[in-house]
C-alpha cells in the first residue's frame, strides 16, 4: 500500500525568507501523481502545485516549486519570499493513475510565518 510521510509536524520561517517542506512517499508503481495542498486556518483547502511522475522537470507555480526526486521517492515543496498569507497546514498527497484509487494524504506540516 502507498504511504505518504511528512516528517515535520510544524515549521516556522521569517517573512520574505525561503522554506522547504519535506515529503517522502512509498510506492511500487512507476506512474503516479503528487500534489501539495494548502489549508489556511478556517479556510478551504486549495491545490498549490502538482507533479506527474513521468515528467522529469520540477513543477513551479510562482513562488512555489518542488524538488521531485523519483528514485529517492521524495517530493519537497519550496516556498520562496514567504508571505504572511502562506501560513497554513500543508498536505502532501499521492495518487495512482487508476481511476478508482483514492488520494493518499500525508499528516501535514503546519507552517508559521514570523513577521
Amino acid at each position: 500500500a502507498q504511504t505518504v510521510t511528512q516528517s515535520q509536524p510544524e515549521m516556522s520561517v521569517q517573512e520574505a525568507e525561503t522554506v522547504t517542506l519535506s515529503c517522502t512517499y512509498d510506492t511500487s508503481e512507476s506512474d503516479y501523481y503528487l500534489f501539495w495542498y494548502k489549508q489556511p486556518p478556517s479556510r478551504q483547502m486549495i491545490l498549490v502545485i502538482r507533479q506527474e511522475a513521468y515528467k522529469q522537470q520540477n513543477a513551479t507555480e510562482n513562488r512555489f516549486s518542488v524538488n521531485f526526486q523519483k528514485a529517492a521517492k521524495s517530493f519537497s515543496l519550496k516556498i520562496s519570499d514567504s508571505q504572511l498569507g502562506d501560513a497554513a497546514m500543508y498536505f502532501c498527497a499521492y495518487r495512482s493513475p487508476r481511476r478508482d484509487d483514492k488520494i493518499i494524504f500525508g499528516k501535514g506540516t503546519r507552517l508559521h510565518i514570523l513577521p
Binding site: Y32, Y33, F35, R43, Q44, M45, I46, L47, R50, E52, M89, F91, R95, S96, P97, R98, R99, D100, D101, K102, I103, F105, G106, K107, G108, R110
Partner: protein
C-alpha cells in the same frame, strides 16, 4: 465563480439526533467526495460518487450515508451521531476521465462544515 459550497458552515446537533450536511457545486464535476477531518489531521475519505456510482470506504462506519440526487448536489447523513463524530466535514469535487486511467486532476474543496455534538 465556479465553486464548491457547503452548508451550513457550523452545525450543532445532539447525541443520537440525525443530521444532514449538504454540498453543492457549480463546476459540473463528475466526482464528489466526502472527507472527515479531525483537528490537525489529514482528511479521511468516507466515500465518493463517481457520477451516480457510490463508492464506500471499507472503514467508514455504517452510521454515515450519502445521497447524490443529481450532478450538483451531494448530502452526508449521519444517522445517530456520537461524540466521536465531531469533526470538520469536507466536500470535494473533481473531473475524472471515463477511462480507467486518470488521477491527475486536482480536487476542489469546499469550506467545510464543522460539526459539534452536544
Amino acid at each position: 465563480d465556479a465553486m464548491v459550497i457547503q452548508n451550513p458552515r457550523y452545525q450543532v446537533t445532539q447525541f443520537g439526533k440525525p443530521v444532514t450536511l449538504s454540498c453543492s457545486q457549480t463546476l459540473n464535476h463528475n466526482v464528489m467526495y466526502w472527507y472527515q477531518q479531525k483537528s490537525s489531521q489529514a482528511p479521511k475519505l468516507l466515500f465518493h460518487y463517481y457520477d451516480k456510482d457510490f463508492n464506500n470506504e471499507a472503514d467508514t462506519p455504517d452510521n454515515f450515508q450519502s445521497r447524490r440526487p443529481n450532478t450538483s448536489f451531494c448530502f452526508l447523513d449521519i444517522r445517530s451521531p456520537g461524540l466521536g463524530d465531531a469533526a470538520m466535514y469536507l466536500c470535494a469535487t473533481s473531473r475524472e476521465s471515463k477511462l480507467p486511467r486518470g488521477g491527475n486532476q486536482p480536487q476542489h474543496f469546499g469550506d467545510g462544515t464543522r460539526l459539534s455534538i452536544l
